[in-house]
Every structure is written in C-alpha cells, then in structure tokens.
Amino acid sequence: MATYKGIQGYSVQKLSEDPTAADVEGQLWYNSGSGKFKIAAAGAGAWSSGGNLNTPRNAIGGIGINTAAVAVGGSDGPGPSPATNAAEVEEYNGTSWTEVTNMPTATKHVMSGGILTAGWYGGGDESGDGTTLSNKCFEYDGTSWTASGNLTEAKNAGCGTGTQTAALITGGAPDPTSLNCMLYNGSSWTETANTATSRLNTAACGNSSAAIVMGGYSPADTAYTGKTESWNGTSWTEVNDMNVARSGAGCGGNGVAPSSSALYAGAYGVPSPTARNETESWDGTSWTVVANLATGRALGGAAISSNTVGLLFGGYMPNTSWKNETEEWNGAPVSAKTVTVS
C-alpha cells in the first residue's frame, strides 16, 4: 500500500495530544491518542457573555482591552429614572469586574482611551442633565486618577481614542456644531481640523496621527449617520459608510484599536429608539456586517483592540433599564477540527 509520505514526499506530524489551537492555525497533525487527523482552523466570529458589571449603567467611558479593561463613570442604575451620575470605576480581568478607585467627579458621557495602566478620560456631563459640561482631563495609572491639561472646550457625548500621549477627541455636545476636534500630547490639548459631519454619541479608533470616526447622531441632518471619516494627523477624509446608520456604540472610548481594524456594535437607530444589535467590522477600507450582539444596547462602554478582539459592557435598551451585562467579541477563533478521511 502506498504511504502518504511516498505520495506527498513528507509526513503528517504525529502528536499524542492536540496542541493549543490558536498557536498552530493552519497546521495539520495526527492525534495518536484519538487516532484522528486534526487541523487548526479559524471559525466564525461571535459575541459570548462576560462577567457582569457590579453597577448597571450607561453612558460609560471605556479604557483598555478585553482582558484588562476599565469602565469609567456613566449614568447610574437602575434607570431610566432617576438618572444620577455614577462615580464608580471598575476593572475587568477577562472574567469579572472589580470596583476600584472612583473617578474624581461623578460624570457621564466622558471621552476616554488608553490602556488600564495608562488610561485617560476627558470632558463629560457632571450634572447629569447636560447643564454642566466638563473640560477636565484625568489620567489613570491602574490605581489612581491624576489631573492633566484641560480640553480646549467643555464637551460631552463625543468620542475619544488613542493613548495617554497621543489621543484625539471629536464630536459631542454642546450643539449645534458638534464638530470640534482636539489632540492630546500627554500634557495639553490643542484644537485641530474639524470633521465634515457633526456628530453626537459617535465612536472612534486610532490615535492623534491616524484615526477613524464613525456613526453617531448628526444634529445638522437630524438623523443617525453611518458616515465614516479618516484622520491622517492633519485632515479628515470621508471614506466608506457603515451599513447601518446608528448612534451611541461604545460611547466614551474605543480602547486601543488601530484605525485600520475596528469594530462597531450595538447603538440605537431607527425606528427610534430601537436598540440595535448589529456588529460591523472595519478592515481599513470598508465595513462588513458580522455576528450580532446577543443583547442590543446603546451607550455601553467599549474596550476594542481590533476587529477580532473586543469587549462591550453596560449600556441600555432604550425601551427599558440600564444594563450590567458584558459581551466579549472573538472575531476569528481558532479551534482544532477533526479531518474526515475515507
């Protein structure tokens, strides 16, 4: 009988047990224990449940990545009334949330970015009713909050992205323009070129030299928008729209995703005020609809690393109360699959 090596010129590796699939994507092996051929292959992306926040809330700032995230402030539970601001800060370790040092002032709709040990937030609504907006900025070192340079204007409900030394904020109230964009260098904020479309409750990823901003509510158009704009450090260029126009996904910040690999999930859209559950993946050129959230929600916090890894927490269903649920996105899970042979 001809052997595989005799036909192909090489042997299939023989292993006594399956290796960690994620480490051997694309590899084929023979499991001598089970007597089966196996291959490590990427499957379909999906959201799974993560640990619940201790405090249900919406309009949360998000910092970090899916295994080291920070939920900052927001509007306290149980919602939708009374709508008091939350000062609570919680950290996520990939399994559960733990309450840590409160933010200096209870604030919702902050704009945020960075990682757990080097995060930041700016602005927000300190009064809870939109009458007292903040221009303050604070940095987080994983333990405590330290004041930094003020934003160029007080605002809330925009979006933040980038690191503690190269960040960007755009969109947000006060109306009617919601255009103003500002850059952070680790100590001070500088006004810079505005986006073409005004936006509230928008989202962004990238940093001060390369970013995209997507979605939101356009006061000028009095409609949700799916428009996406790309930032090159100097100016904004309109690029391909999202498939579903909506507002309020990953409300405060979007973790550390680069401008070439982003995720946009949930938000509210039409018919207003519907909680959307669609997820879209950005590959640097266009948006593709991928697997839905299990629970549609708006104004949750987000900690997105790329279009394959992310975390969405809290938020609310416009029809009912604040959420404490977390969902974890795995966009390209690798698993060992048995090869059928004849």
Partner: protein, 95 residues
C-alpha cells in the same frame, strides 16, 4: 417553529459561549426574556442555564410590561429630561 422562548438570569461569564452563538440563534430582551433558536443546541442551552420555558405570548407579555413601565417613566420626565433621551420607548414584536 424557528424560535423558542424562556426567561433566565444572565449570571455573566459563560452564560452563553462563543460556541453557543454559532450553534443557535440567541437574543436577549427586557425582563430576562431570551429568544432561542429551536434546535437541539438551543434546547440544551435553556436546560444548562436553568431557563424557564415560556410560550411566545407569555414572553411577549413580559417584554411589553417592561416597555410599559419604561413608557410611564418617560412620560413622567420633564421636557428637559425628555430631550436627554432618544424618544418614548416603543413596544416591539419578539422574533
């Protein structure tokens, strides 16, 4: 019937897994109502999370009651408070 219905309390991590999401339809709604794909994996999940099976009409009534409560809360808001929200909650039909 494409979907089945239950109530279950989402305890957090691993309440539903990545594999679950690829094996059956799942969507969460107010009142801890879950719409679950009506296949073997979906039924197995309901048992795993100790879900309480509901008829579609029962599940819909739970969600409707939650929306009605949210509508009453919204109606009690001042005009300024209403401006802070995207609109009056609306009832919708479960899939």
């Amino acid at each position: 019937m494409a979907n089945t219905y239950c109530t279950a309390n989402n305890w957090g991590k691993d309440f539903f897994t990545h594999e679950d999401r690829n094996d059956f339809y799942l969507s969460g709604h107010a009142g801890n109502v879950w719409v679950v794909g009506n296949n073997a994996a979906g039924i197995s999940w309901i048992n795993r999370v100790s879900g309480t099976a509901k008829l579609k009409a029962e599940a819909q009534a739970i969600v409707d009651a939650e929306v009605e409560k949210a509508q009453a809360d919204y109606d009690a808001f001042s005009a300024e408070e209403k401006l802070q929200r995207p609109g009056r909650p609306k009832k919708y039909t479960l899939p």
